[in-house]
Amino acid sequence: MTGASAAARSRLFGGRVGIEGATLVLFAGAIASYFLFPNHLALLTQFLVLMMFALSYDLLQGHGGIVSLGHAAFFGLGAYAAAILARTGYNDPLLGLAFAAVLSAVVALVLTPIIVRGNDFTRLLVTLGVASLVYEAANRMRGLTGGADGLPDFEIAPVLGLYKFDFEGRIAFIYAFMVFAMVYVFLWRVVTSPFGLALRGIRENTRRMPAIGSPVRRHLAVAYTLSGGIAGMAGAVLAQTSRFASLDMLGFERSAEIMMVATLGGSGHMAGVSFAALAFGWLKDVLSTASPKYWQLGLGIVLMLSVFVARGGIGGLLDHLRFRRSA
């Protein structure tokens, strides 16, 4: 490996040792948490879901520089897809996962023409609008989605026909972890690929891209499709492991939340974004337990502080650690 490509990768991940070390810690921590917190597996599973969802959105915002305030539409779509499929009797988890991924990806692809148009501000409005429509549609189609009551009461078959989802949530955690690991590796490949480089090109200078012969719209369509599909998988995992799908999985709050998490993580830094999702999920849980009424206030303060304390997000902090150590 030449120094050049090492440095190129260092740019890519915002610090070679940083990202690889952080990724290692992330995975080791996830595995260790299974043994350390056997009574909190349901919560840990939710963290994994949040991390997957955050990573899917980071592909858009962090790497492509494309903002969206409606990404939960794909998350919710995946959740409902898995839930509805399971209720019709096709309750194999991997089948449901694949179905959710494909459906969300196709919907994302279909929506691209209206989303890639315009600039950041118009995109915020368009994605917000589309997500609201999806939400309202899900609300109205009670027969299919259960409306405001959500979709409870469905069974998920054992994973690979072998591992039955147990009451303690062990299999659910392991299943979510496996899907998370797959998503992480897949996205790592994507962001280090020629396509990933082109996405960062769009983020860094959209105007120059056509002048080097780049099909910008196609790149954005691919990014949206991949991102939507992965968001759908995250939703499916949540629905399958909690055996519930509901409107809030499609809601604006979830879309806004994931934008905060990606920003907090340091856009484009996969390990940073994962840790941010973890921190966000944990903080939300702690604060809402401590003060069911005012927890959002605490969350807001922490978020504001993070802007001043860690400008490059958690990913930036991780890199900073690396630089200090190597200096």
Binding site: S5, S193, N205, R208
Partner: protein
């Protein structure tokens, strides 16, 4: 001989304002063709129309005889028409090397691949390093562009355009904003480009224009005032009055 680049009646109007007005331009293959004219003459608007980043109000454009008027900017690049920008349009958060690698990969249509690794593409990296060596940026290859000195950024502008392997290169004030000592270095690199690469360039420094061009078009108020060899242009009274005279007056 088929011109490398040719336009018929190209106009760019912004409402009542005629930035470019009925321009017929022929650039022969291998030319060092300069486009000069006072500020606001419409030079950059013409370049935008040529390369497709702006839709002309009227007129047609051919690249080596092929009609490209209705082609998108990226498709003109793929037909060999590349450009640089008067104001740097670089990928500032990427390394210098990645800037060029990206252009190479787009040219080779490799960027659809999200399942391959950029780092493993040795050939693209070698080609990128050759382009960087040509513009003397080898030692900066791994630096982030935003930390690059301005003059080096101007050279990177050119390297990125070269990476698209153009047959015609349009240079919009390649030395804009660079101190005169360094602007010479930039033009020395342009001069070293292969003879079969057709160049159309905008430049304000008349010394550089007369030294490096073999053909000059003078654009005034959106129209071609005169086109000819440097000797014809330098002796033309209207040019002296409208353009050179005024510049000389400035300098005095």
């Amino acid at each position: 001989m088929t011109p490398a680049l040719s336009t018929q009646g190209i106009s760019v109007h912004f409402g009542a304002f005629r930035a470019v007005d009925n321009v017929n331009l022929n650039v022969r293959p291998g030319a060092r063709h300069a486009l000069i004219g006072p500020n606001g003459a419409g030079k950059t608007a013409l370049v935008h129309a040529l390369t497709g980043s702006l839709s002309p109000t009227a007129g047609t454009i051919q690249v080596f005889g092929e009609e490209v008027s209705s082609r998108a900017e990226k498709d003109r690049v793929r037909r060999g028409l590349a450009r640089t920008f008067q104001i740097n349009q670089l990928f500032r958060g990427l390394s210098v090397l990645d800037n060029v690698v990206l252009a190479i990969m787009e040219r080779d249509r490799k960027t659809a691949a999200f399942w391959r690794s950029v780092a493993n593409d040795k050939r693209a990296h070698e080609a990128a390093r050759e382009h960087l060596a040509f513009v003397n940026l080898t030692q900066h290859a791994d630096r982030e562009v935003r930390h690059l000195p301005y003059g080096s950024q101007r050279l990177l502008e050119i390297a990125i355009a070269l990476a698209t392997r153009p047959r015609i290169l349009v240079l919009d004030e390649p030395a804009a904003g660079v101190p005169s000592g360094e602007s010479h270095a930039i033009f020395e690199r342009i001069h070293a480009l292969p003879q079969d690469l057709t160049l159309l360039f905008i430049e304000h420094d008349m010394g550089l224009v007369f030294r490096f061009s073999d053909r000059i078009s003078v654009l005034v108020a959106g129209q071609i005032l005169i086109e000819g060899a440097p000797s014809e242009i330098s002796s033309d009274e209207r040019v002296k009055e409208i353009y050179l005279g005024r510049r000389a007056g400035h300098a005095a």
